[in-house]
Symmetry: C6
Subunit: 79 residues, 6 copies
């Protein structure tokens, strides 16, 4: 495993607001892709594919939703 | 990340009713697609593809269901 | 968003029985499809596709399962 | 919705054992397919397709796993 | 349903260690496939397909992850 | 089942930090693939396929997200 990539920015699931928690979910989701495909050039090639394919956009949304569920629970839903 | 898109309208998961919570789930799900594909013209092209493909409609439904699970728990299920 | 569609019939996740909770999960799952594809004629065209494709039937089952998990928790599992 | 199909046999998520809970998860998963495709002849045609396609077997397994998670929680994991 | 297959070995979700819980998740996941395709010869044909297709390997991983989530909760995460 | 593969390194879900928990999620996710396809040569062939296919990268991300949800709960979200 490429140990030099930090998978959770700030090494914490706790955020000040739901919006920041949502951004963390997006980042965590993207960092797993970076870990699996560490070649920046290859990722640059794949990016337009994600962004123009309807199925992939939806699957990315599902990933973020699953990450966010964990972050929201960690923050006791910012109640 | 495009910091100018607000990913959670109102920056809160708390809603007055289940119906409003459901609408928030739909919006949050759509805003991730907007973040991943910020080009409005491209999204306009993709929209009819979502809406006329049975598999995509079901996958969108799964996304909303996952987001809603989090929102419902945050609201203690509006009990 | 088409505000005229009610996404949660009765605006509540609370049901008298597990069976009624299961029906609510099915309805909520279908109403998201209705929201995403509001054209009734188009939905009528898609319906036989869902019902005769094995993969789609399974994916619909997954959607209902996720919605039901939320409804069951809301009802404290009708214990 | 075809109201004549009972979606949860026994109208309860409570079972005596984990094994019975697992069987209930399988049944609930199959009954959603029956609801979506009520034509028995059509379902008979689809059955061999499920059973001989590796992807579908795995997706069915995911459905059962999600249903079982709910049933297991309802039974406090039979502890 | 083929009643002769036991779907949960030992008829319990409780295990001594996380490792044993993980093995149980793998077994439960495989037993659903066995239930859906009871023909051993057909399963033998499908096995190399699972094991050499990248998408299927990932989908199997998702199944095991969902089963394991339930088992881990049942064991209070072996804390 | 190949009993010689350890599926959970350290046989524990408890980690010192969220970052270590995330790495454990990645490892657990990969070890299931190793269990299902124990042939190292075959896995070496599949690795570039994972890493260069956008859909697979997203599906791997979903797997890690599900594993991480369990690990995060086990650690009480490192609060």
């Amino acid at each position: 495993m490429n140990e030099s990539i930090q998978l959770i920015p700030g090494n914490s699931l706790i955020t000040a607001t739901p919006e920041e928690g949502r951004m963390l979910a997006v980042k965590m989701s993207r960092l797993i892709i970076k870990l699996t495909q560490p070649d920046a050039e290859m990722r640059d090639k794949l990016r337009p594919i994600y962004a123009s394919d309807a199925t992939m956009l939806i699957l990315i949304g599902q990933s973020v939703a699953i990450e966010f569920a964990t972050i929201a629970a960690a923050n006791n839903y910012w109640k």
